[in-house]
Amino acid sequence: MKKALLLAAIISLLALTAAPAVQAATPYEAYTYNYYSDAVALPAPFLPERTVDGAGLGVGDFKLPNDFYVTKDGTVYILDSGNNRIVVADEHWNVIRIIDGFDNNGTPDTFGNPNGIFVSETGKIYVADTDKRRVVVLTGQGELVKIVENPQSEVLPANFEFAPLKVTADRAERIFVVARGVYEGIMQFNDTGEFLGYVGTIKVQPSVADRLWRWLATDAQKSQMVLFIPTEFSSVDIDDKGFVYATNIDVGSTETIKRINPLGKDVIKRFGHYPNVGDIRYRSYGRDSGPSKLTDIKYIGDGMYIVLDSNRARVFAYNDEGELLYAFGGRGTQLGVFNTPVSVEWQKGKLLVLDRGKNNIVIFRPTKFGKLVHEATALHYNGNTADSVELWKEVLRLNSNYDIAYLGIGKSLLMAKQNKEAMEYFKLGMSRKYYSIAFKRYRREVMQEHFGTFMTTAVVLIAAFAAFRIARRVRLGRSAGHEA
């Protein structure tokens, strides 16, 4: 009897574990904002897979890592700031090498609390070596290429202290540096390390209250006041075309994400129903309040970019039009939520987030929903609207509240001249602009089709009316004639 019970217990336990996990629970809720700026729940686009830390890699614990970079082939460069080293691992997290110093023209040199790292397509490593006031460029093997330091220019003050925080470079090896205490924009250097000037200057707009206060203040008070200086940039990345993506922490601004063209102008599209600034609904006071503080940005290809909000520890993905694809994340101790997320990267379809508080990297793998959204967005971005329709339909099957999918299908129908159907989808996707285009075409179609019928009816009616008038006049004339 006892054995039978034990057997039953074992079998039931096995059955329990063998049952497939239909939906793995996530410690966060994914969402996007709809037309009415309400957060609508989404199926999780990413699931946390595992974490990677220094001990797991066999290189000893990380110590306050500030940044990391993943190249197109999946190689990971972790900037382990507290240990002043760079840990290089391949796609499968096997450590290739550790760079903890370099040969500076004969003398061994190390990093000083570096804050930013970037690896170019040619494999050169750029390190924003903050405390040593320089940007170090190394080869993939860790040999020194050049050092950019001590920029000289008449636009820089005499006692200027160059403290680089984040760095990126384009194909022509121009270097873009976000530096501490620099409010004019992103510092741009040419390939020889010469300072060229600033790009992407942030506009300053004092609020009405600020202006009123300033107007009331006396000159003595004014001199005590802080200047209206724009905030600093917080991160930079670069896309395949050499456009710099940058974020800045500017409370109250709707332009915290920028895409800077080679001329230094912000050309990012903000075509969504609301600005692309992270969260648009948040509490004003108390816990988790205030607008998003975007601390990192990663361009992941096909017009999409991902930003990291350090305020509420969330990840936001946008498409090239500036529409929010999804948002998720949060603070906590479980796998998949963060303590102090500092950097976000993209490793061949997987999302990686570096957590300075936990000294580890969280690996997220895409779910079916996440994959579909990314694939459909990529197809749409590359102009294959017809191919994207099937994917969007699948997305809608998983989540019928996804406005962007309706828009995608609508645009494809519009291309195929199915104007009436397109109207329906644009209405569901709440796009008045495209609805109007589809409706205009549909109306013209209907009018052309029925123009003949309409004109015939009109002519017949006019003729009948004229005949009636003539008949009445004749009859009246006759009766008048009779009377006379």
Binding site: Y36, R432, K433, Y435, S436, F439, R443
Partner: protein, 205 residues
Amino acid sequence: MKHEWIRFPFHILFHPYDGFWDLKYENKGRMSVAMAILLLMVVATSLMKQFAGFLVNFNDPRYLNTLDDLAFTVLPFFLFCVANWSVTTLMEGEGKFREIVISTAYALLPMILINLPLTYISRFMTNEETAFYWMLNSFGAIWFLYLLFVGNMTIHQYSVTKAVFTLVLTVIAMGIIVFLGALALTICMDMYWFVYDIYRELIFR
């Protein structure tokens, strides 16, 4: 259009001075017609919110409520009438409350006459043509305000400046009434909860 009670409101539309004079001294206005116009206004508002074309309809369909439309049309209407009556009684206005109600209701007619067909036409507009929608919509509103002004002036036998002045005072009076109403309601609620709390204290002793 044989019946006077149908023809008269339309007469007022185009000959407001003449019309409102007749309303006051020839006793041509009818309370039943006024109430019918008010009801039609509610219907027109509801229809417009529900059925205006997608390009001009910015209402969130989740929150459309005909009862709200009723409340938010009828209540401000009577609020205006009461406030206007209160102000004009003190300001030597000659209008009776009945005349104020009828003239205000008759002034609403252009909004109904414009908004109803506009709701239908708006369904066939493209984005570029919606300018006409907003233009006609504002035109209806301006016509309403004009009739309201002329009606008020004629009913109370005011000069232009005095009519403007009393209308401004009426708006202020409306604010005061709403404030006092809210205050009274809050105090009543507080009293209710006070008694309720005492009751609970007693039964849980």
